[in-house]
């Protein structure tokens, strides 16, 4: 398995502000993924972060709202910008491991509440 550390584990933020979530992996990985889980909902992929290139965003998610950094093969950050109460969700990072990267592991998630 992979050890993935996410910080912060939770936060309460004022609307209009921004929060940066960090994801640290215990070994080098090619791809890192950021998911959002809205209250009572399933997980939805926000973007795929590859080291050395711009993140690839899924439909409905834009870089201005969710800028992502991937400075090296073990670390990534997701920023939730200009937050509104609708951004209140759990944000999770994930990595792939193993043959063909078909073993997917998740960080413990960041519970964000926007007031």
């Amino acid at each position: 398995s992979a050890v993935i550390s996410q910080k912060p584990s939770r936060d309460i933020c004022q609307r209009g502000t921004s929060l940066t979530i960090q994801c640290q992996v215990d070994s080098q990985v090619t791809m890192m993924f950021w998911y959002r889980q809205q209250p009572g909902q399933s997980l939805t992929l926000i973007a795929t972060a590859n080291q050395g290139s711009e993140a690839t965003y899924e439909s409905g998610f834009v870089i201005d709202k969710f800028p992502i950094s991937r400075p090296n093969l073990t670390f990534s950050t997701l920023t939730v910008s200009n937050m509104s109460p609708e951004d209140s969700s759990i944000y999770l990072c994930s990595v792939g491991r193993g043959l063909r990267n078909t073993e997917a592991f998740f960080g413990q998630g960041t519970r964000l509440t926007v007031v």
């Binding site: 791809m31 993924f33 998630g109």
Partner: protein
């Protein structure tokens, strides 16, 4: 686009009994993989079991086993000898294999309640 459907919002099982969670998916790909994840209130996504589409044999992990029917695009999870600690949300996920990144598509989830 791939879709994953979990038709059971909630399932209840007596401790020590067996429960089966259903999952169907839609894809035009022949090479992919499937997961069941458990999410307790701690919100940690815990990998329960994984199945590669090219493998005909159904995956098993201790009390957890799957019934993978590729032609029917069905991937059900059986939890045997249910324990109180099995109570959680369970998500079925489809994983596409792409050079650009193996993205996961999740079903809506099934809440499992275990009665003592």
């Amino acid at each position: 686009a791939q879709t994953v459907t979990q038709s059971q919002p909630e399932m209840s099982v007596q401790e020590a009994e067996t429960v089966t969670l259903s999952c169907t998916y839609d894809t035009s790909e022949s090479d992919y993989y499937l997961f069941w994840y458990k999410q307790p209130p701690s919100r940690q996504m815990i990998l329960v079991i994984r199945q590669e589409a090219y493998k005909q044999q159904n995956a098993t992990e201790n009390r957890f086993s799957v019934n993978f029917q590729k032609a029917a695009k069905s991937f059900s999870l059986k939890i045997s000898d249910s324990q109180l600690g099995d109570a959680a949300m369970y998500f079925c996920a489809y994983g596409q294999i792409k050079a650009a990144g193996n993205k996961l598509t999740f079903g809506g989830g099934t809440r499992v309640l275990v009665k003592p």
